[in-house]
Symmetry: C2
Subunit: 219 residues, 2 copies
């Protein structure tokens, strides 16, 4: 879908947030991502060799193209005919949404249109941790939100099982993309899940088990 | 570590099993894997593009080099100085062992020496499922075994959380390696965890949440 918004993502992002303060669901609060670059680059085995956790982030935002590539790698559609993704999910229910905590608010990744929808304008990055200071510095904290409403009628155990597993496989994609791109990242289970769910105004069927900090490495 | 066993993996595998029937822990029941090939090959983004679940397997064993590369990609050591791996684990406890159910028995992957240690001689592939027929055909069913004994003093909830998450991230490595190599695979939560743990004579601290079938695609 080509729209006038596609021109300059980072500029638009700033512009839109500045233009409509306090307006939570305005149609214009969308960031169209540039198409992901899925050709070439480092071999899989090289990315596996470079995979590691890092907790030291430079304090600058991710370039729009890097964010686009990252989100596609994490949980993008790799089979457009069916909408299936780069990671599996329990019984194919695709219960996970990526909520992206950045300096300019919280955005939800929309894999179908490969764009971001603003969820709220607050910078909640520091609230995605139970006390790790580096989290605030990372320009992006991905919050993995599992929605049991997509699972049929799951038991509580199944909700947890699926939510944990379906977040973790995406987390590994993020790890490998960061190794491939030379970014720093760490997948964190030290997340105040219930408190953060309230802060994000999630529904009772939505739960958070993991967050993942991503950014350029501190040099 | 170079030993006389390194010569020909597939030949030795057959030989050793044939030579010592009924002897469960004989020192010779080891398969030294060829060193993993970690250079070159398909880019990460191409592997992500090709990632999918498949339940149709050809009935022939994996070549030793493919098995070697697969296991390194899954849960191999990518930083020899520290022993750290291609996938993360909760609090770095590395609670997961890969038990490999193949036609010639169950083998445990030893990442440090990059070799297989025989655990039992039975073909339990068909017992790693709650009823999916294709499982028996796959030459390899990886059983993810989480050992809470490595977690310190975890609560029951933590044991489960860590076991599920730490299996899933490795499972995603296997998915991507299979996409890279053109193999078929599916990560399965439909595993009779407790029954299978008994069948494998696991200790009370070991638990199974996932298995993953891997093989050549049926043509």
């Amino acid at each position: 879908m080509i729209t006038r918004r596609e021109a300059n993502v980072s500029l638009l992002s700033t512009m839109m947030v500045a233009a409509v303060p306090g307006l939570a669901m305005a149609e214009s609060q969308v960031i169209e991502l540039p198409p992901p670059q899925t050709e070439g680059g480092k071999p899989l085995m090289e990315a596996l060799k470079a995979r590691h956790s890092s907790r030291e982030f430079a304090d600058r935002p991710l370039a729009p193209q890097v964010l686009s590539n990252l989100l596609w790698a994490a949980w993008g559609i790799n089979r457009p005919a069916t909408g299936l993704r780069t990671a599996p999910s329990s019984q194919g229910k695709m219960d996970i949404d990526l909520y992206l905590a950045m300096a300019n608010g919280v955005w939800i990744y929309d894999p179908k249109a490969h764009r971001l929808l603003q969820h709220m304008q607050d910078d909640v990055r520091g609230e995605t941790t139970t006390g790790q200071d580096f989290v605030k510095t990372a320009p992006l904290n991905i919050i993995y939100v599992s929605d049991a409403a997509r699972m049929g009628k799951p038991s509580n155990a199944d909700r947890m099982f699926n939510g944990i597993a379906d977040s973790a496989v995406i987390g590994q994609n993020v790890y490998l993309f960061c190794a491939y791109e030379g970014l720093a990242t760490v997948l964190r289970a030290s997340v105040p899940g219930e408190r953060l769910a309230k802060r994000l105004n999630l529904t009772p069927t939505q739960a958070i088990y993991f967050a993942q900090s991503v950014g350029y490495a501190k040099t």
